[in-house]
């Protein structure tokens, strides 16, 4: 077990190093002096009761919320000073809690927009839908079980399919760090199973941070679990270790 006694000089070994991260909203510290490290190819699951600051942590990493103090280093680049789109281009992908897709566009167009080419005004004006784009869209669509629905307007997809589409939109960006906020919320049992299978397939060669409440699902996928409570880490380690932790049982699992 890697103890949390880590010095700055060792940060290079981690894909993501969060240190002393604090954010306060009008004096309320949603995230309070938080430090954690994510390894290469690791699946980290963050759990915790409502209001523990889980989504805020993801917001901080992807630049949606600005940190009051602390640092977030991604492959030795400081993210806290970067703009949102720069963070994405550096290799961080984020899936939102509610499926966030473009309802007025087709599945194909949704994926195409996320394809990392033509991201400037001029680039978008001159963007050509060439064979490479079509091939990649097709490939991702097959991965996310939507190959038959490429021409469908995204608004007509089911809730689960919308979640998959958004995962596909991240996949096509090929991020090194993928952050998923409750990817199976609101899914049926069969959809949940397929999603776990999907996640297990797409995590190769990348690190993943997942927020999830579904303990069965967490058990299926997590390498390591971080339990947040009131903006601080309550416990961290393997699923078994965390589940046995009396503090965790008291504030979260016991309920």
């Amino acid at each position: 077990m890697n103890a949390n006694v880590i010095t700055d000089s060792m940060n290079k070994d981690f894909v993501l190093a969060v240190e002393g991260l604090t954010v306060s909203f009008d004096g309320f510290k949603a995230v309070n002096d938080l430090s954690f490290y994510v390894d290469e190819n690791e699946i980290r699951v963050i759990i915790g009761p409502n209001g523990a600051g889980k989504t805020t942590v993801l917001d901080l990493i992807c630049g949606r919320t600005r940190a009051t103090a602390g640092s977030i280093r991604f492959k030795d680049r400081e993210l806290t000073k970067m703009k949102e789109h720069e963070i994405v281009r550096a290799g961080v992908g984020r899936k939102f809690q509610n499926p966030s897709i473009y309802e007025d566009l087709t599945v194909f167009e949704n994926l195409e927009i996320s394809y990392p080419k033509g991201r400037t005004v001029l680039g978008a004006l001159t963007f050509r839908r060439d064979a490479a784009v079509k091939e990649r869209v097709q490939e991702v669509a097959e991965t996310i079980f939507l190959a038959d629905q490429l021409d469908q307007r995204a608004e007509y997809l089911s809730h689960g399919q919308k979640q998959w589409l958004e995962i596909g939109m991240l996949l096509i960006q090929d991020p090194e760090l993928l952050m998923l906020d409750e990817p199976v919320a609101g899914m049926s049992v069969s959809e949940r199973k397929k999603t776990a299978e999907l996640l297990n397939r797409i995590i190769k060669d990348r690190s993943v941070i997942v927020i999830e409440h579904d303990m069965k699902f967490v058990e299926d996928i997590a390498h390591k679990v971080t339990v947040l409570h009131q903006g601080k880490i309550l416990s961290e380690g393997s699923m078994a270790k965390v589940q046995a932790d009396p503090k965790v049982v008291e504030v979260y699992l016991g309920h």
Partner: protein, 387 residues
Amino acid sequence: MTTPAPTSGRTFFLRRQDMIGIAILAVLLMVVLPLTLDNFRLQFVGKYLTYAFVALGLALCWGYAGILSLGQGVFFGLGGYCMAMFLKLEASSVENTKIQTTPGIPDFMDWNQITALPWFWEPFRSFGFTTLAVVAVPALFALIIGFALFKRRVGGVYFAIITQALAAIMTILIIGQQGYTGGINGITDLRTLHGWDIRTDSAKTILYFVCVGLLIACILLAYYVKSSKLGRLLVAMRDKEDRVRFSGYDVSSFKIFVFCLAASLSAIGGAMFTLQVGFMSPSFVGIVPSIEMVIYTAVGGRLSILGAVYGTLVVNWAKTSFSESFPELWLFGLGGLFIAVVLIFPNGLAGLWQTYVAPRLGPLFGGQARRAAPPPASEPVAPAVAE
């Protein structure tokens, strides 16, 4: 394996029904109307068409990108004033103005005790500079506004209110700076373009055709933008701005682009207005004309490029015929029309066409639903785990 998206089969940026739509509009404006209307009425249509440029810009900016600007009159005016300055300078030759205290400057300057041409009027002696300025000055102005607002993520209602305030400010500025702008009367008594008298009937007919030609060119440009990836990005931004941002795009730069494009389109309309009508005044800059322009777009259907043109023609035709008979009732009519559009047919004329007319005309006119229809209810929501 499935077939690739059908849209990818399109090699040119226009779909078949778009080409037919543009061709019909071109025939209507270039053949049907000139043959059926007398000169007087045709000049009216020419004037309406200059507003269609604004509506076209609004269709992109408001309809597609969701940015409602209530200040497009500012850009229409800037384009119009640029052209008016050139024409006024040509009309104010020393010979024409020898009775003035200072000959060779525009008459209204002389009346306001200005004795030398202001520096910013000087470049407008060149027609080349003027044509460039017609497009560039409003775009630059829009760039500054867009940069200031979109980079700070000002949007929605706040953006609309600020642009409306700009329209008011611009009007006050023009009226207040009489000596430089001609004040409330505007810049009048425009006569010739490189010696070609623009006041004659034949000149007005030629200018009508120039205006139609430019409009068609701008429509093609709008279609190009709409069908490019940028067009789809605008729709995506309107839907889920954050998702676009977190897909690696600098959202503000796309908003700035479309706002500048809409500004330039409006300005081309403004310049054509000045040429055809023969003057430019602050009454085309302020809040009321700016809102009227939004109504044209709404009536036409804000998601339709061609709809914007038809909306402009219909509303203006109604305005002219209505206010000839009941001048005092027109504003109520306009207000009623706007309410009707919002409540009864939110997609405007284009929406009515697509819902009621096109399905009867067959696929050539886009009669078949352009995108796949919703799946039948019986279709399973997600494939069951059969394996």
